[in-house]
């Protein structure tokens, strides 16, 4: 038994040392596998970054109330009377002054210019109620100040400022005939809110002629369990019949559609490319076996078994795959990790997000590389193991 492993070790060492003789062929396999991994990981990092930005935006103890069937904030309408009924609903937390902690909100789409492409893009302008900031975690004004209620002042999210032109503090932006002053920049813990513009609800309502309606109501619940109370309250009152969801559930739904699409595009592409890389790896390994035919036959003639030849060839293939996988992952990390992108989200407005690699994704990429190496090495390894000695000795 021990001698078998010694044989395996010896043949593997010979194989690996001889890679240099086939450096161009081996290098092309390594690069092919690295490219496959880069494409896969770039897509997965994009889906992951998008998912994190949106799914990280919601809280369990915040309820979001929308018109039944509307699915996204932009489509929803909630009347002033309905807002009052929700205020009196069960399960809603109250502040020190006894007032319910709710924020009726109006969500409008306005135009902005994207810095990188200088094209028009849909940006969200959110009119928030008095409790608007208190209902979101980690809201901090990082520059300037909060808008004053009743004035046409806005604060903008950090991500929006970075990606779109003309929102620096002190500048004036005009949406239609009205002009707004940018007075502050806020951070929101990397959530989707950082892609928004916020203003006072009442001002937005009057300047956009939407006096009697809002789109959504956000409410702080006494606890995550209170959601069901509020839900059945809405279901049982014919004047309401609204969709009540936890904010976390709402954002999870929003995130899943787009990131699903990205993943559904990424995996098939990566697999198709991986098949190409397998063909390349097979080529390399068959050539490797052919080039070493005499050597393998000689080893067999002096008493080495077929198994060491098999392992040696497979090890060479796997080593090339691992190098390719690691190179690909490293390149993806250097090129794509942290790259900012934006796309249309579920609300028909731009969501700014960063590409984000995770250890788990890197593991997926390296695993794909190993599969390519395994398949690419298996058949040539079998050939090496079965090579008839006499034929091998006369190979040249």
């Amino acid at each position: 038994m021990r001698s078998l492993w010694l044989q395996v070790a010896a043949v593997t060492a010979i194989n690996l040392k001889s890679i240099g003789q086939r450096r161009w062929l081996s290098l092309s396999t390594v690069i092919a596998i690295a490219l496959v991994v880069i494409v896969l990981l770039a897509f997965l990092a994009m889906a992951n970054g998008f998912q994190r930005t949106i799914a990280g935006s919601g809280a369990d103890d915040i309820a979001i109330v929308l018109r039944a069937g509307s699915q996204a904030e932009i489509n929803s309408t909630v009347s002033r009377d309905q807002v009052r009924l929700i205020e009196d609903g069960p399960g809603i937390a109250r502040g020190g002054d006894g007032k319910p902690l709710i924020s009726p909100e109006l969500y409008l789409v306005v135009d902005g210019i994207k810095r990188s492409t200088r094209t028009k893009a849909n940006l969200p302008l959110r009119g928030i109620g008095e409790q608007g900031t208190a209902l979101r975690k980690d809201i901090t004004i990082t520059a300037g100040r909060m808008f004053n209620r009743g004035s046409n002042e806005v604060v903008v999210g950090k991500a929006l400022l970075r990606e779109f032109e003309g929102f620096d503090i002190g500048s004036t932006v005009s949406f239609g005939a009205t002009r707004w002053n940018v007075v502050g920049v806020f951070e929101a813990g990397g959530s989707v809110f950082e892609s928004e513009i916020w203003a006072d609800l009442n001002v937005v309502q009057s300047l956009f002629n939407r006096n009697n309606v809002v789109q959504t109501v956000r409410a702080r619940l006494t606890g995550p369990a209170a959601l069901n109370e509020l839900k059945s309250y809405s279901d049982n009152d014919p004047r309401l019949k609204l969709d009540v969801k936890s904010e976390a559930a709402y954002f999870a739904e929003q995130a899943s559609q787009t990131s699903d699409l990205i993943q559904k595009l990424g995996w098939p592409l990566a697999i198709a490319m991986a098949l190409g890389a397998v063909a390349g790896a097979l080529n390399t390994m068959y050539s490797s076996v052919a080039a070493r035919a005499t050597e393998i036959a000689t080893l067999r003639a002096i008493g080495f078994g077929g198994f060491p030849a098999f392992v040696g060839t497979l090890a060479e293939s796997l080593l090339l795959a691992v190098i390719g996988g690691v190179l690909g992952a490293a390149a993806t990390y250097l090129i794509f990790d942290g790259v900012t992108a934006s796309t249309l989200g579920g609300n028909f407005t731009q969501v700014v997000f960063d590409f984000k690699l995770s250890p788990w994704l890197i593991a997926e990429g390296v695993a794909l590389a190993l599969i390519v190496g395994l398949i690419g090495g298996l058949f040539p390894a079998l050939r090496a193991a079965r090579l008839p000695i006499v034929e091998g000795l006369y190979a040249h």
Partner: protein
Amino acid sequence: MNDFDLVRKNLFRRKLRASLMIVSILIAFMIFGVLAGFYRAFTAGEDRAAADRMITVNKINFTQPMPIAYFNRVKTVEGVRQVTFANWFGGYYQDPKNFIMALAIEPNTYFDVYRSEFEVAPDQLQAFTRDRGSAVVGEKLARKWGWKIGDRIPLNSNIFSQKSGGHTWDLTIAGIVKGKAEHVDTNFMLFQYPYFDETRSFGKDTIGWMILQTTSPENNDRVAKAIDAMFANSTAETSTDTEKAFGKAFAAQFGNIALIVLLVVGAAFVTILMIVGNTMALSIRERTREIGVLKTLGFSGPRILTMVLGESVLLALLGGIPGLVIAALIAVALRNSLANVAPAFAVSPTIALQGLALMIALGLITGIIPALNAMRLKIATALGRG
């Protein structure tokens, strides 16, 4: 035996190696075909936009409404041949997941402005304009749900509600809209704006956007300026642009699709180029002695160059053409499920031609170094080697 036979026999001397290379090339061109088809579908709106058509939207953003009174005022602008308007409805059928691209339109002018794209039988169009509660549906959508003329369809809105409180409009199908060309998407439902406006609970007397046709594309600029100036400093300022520019700006919002396509196709190509190039070099090296023999027999250097290049180009074509065919089949299979995102998803003749050009380029690039080496080979060296 002519040169082509030699090329063919050389290529398939090692069947397994040749098949593997063909498979990698096939996959590269499959990826190319699918991505290029997808990209074309994505930007199709831009390409087929009529040069004399313009879109007027609210300056704040195209999702903001503007007063219906604008319609009559725009009609009078010099250089405007015809105007129509539409309003987004946010439609779905039975379940919010069954999204339907539904618009409330101005029934008398809409099909005039879009006459180069859509066709409705005259009697059906007449029935539609006469009956306020009727709708016309695109051929594709009608086929999807098995709808026929005379069917009553409950159309839900995820935005609007009726004055009576419901969210459903019952519409009778008066006609089927056919596309006049293959690439025209007919996955929509159109119904009368007057009926919609009268029954909705909010937003009365506002419209989503106007589509106008100018008397000539040369007037586009002047017309756009005249319209936007007319509504400057009003509560709803407008922004007028060509249909093409509008479509382009909209597509850009999804992110840089073109760059992604380029990256992936590029990566796939570099991969294949390396694999094929290396293998070609290897197989020519193996044949050094033979090339020496051919030269001894009187084959000229250029003739050998052509033969080696012919071999690599043949290889590229053998892999590439089936790859494009598979891409075309994938496009057909996916067309329905991608109807909302990329309605005109197909591997077009242009893409096929581009693909062919790429195949030849791939063949020439991978073959050129081994071919030059073979051409320059000295007989003595060749026969002395190996």
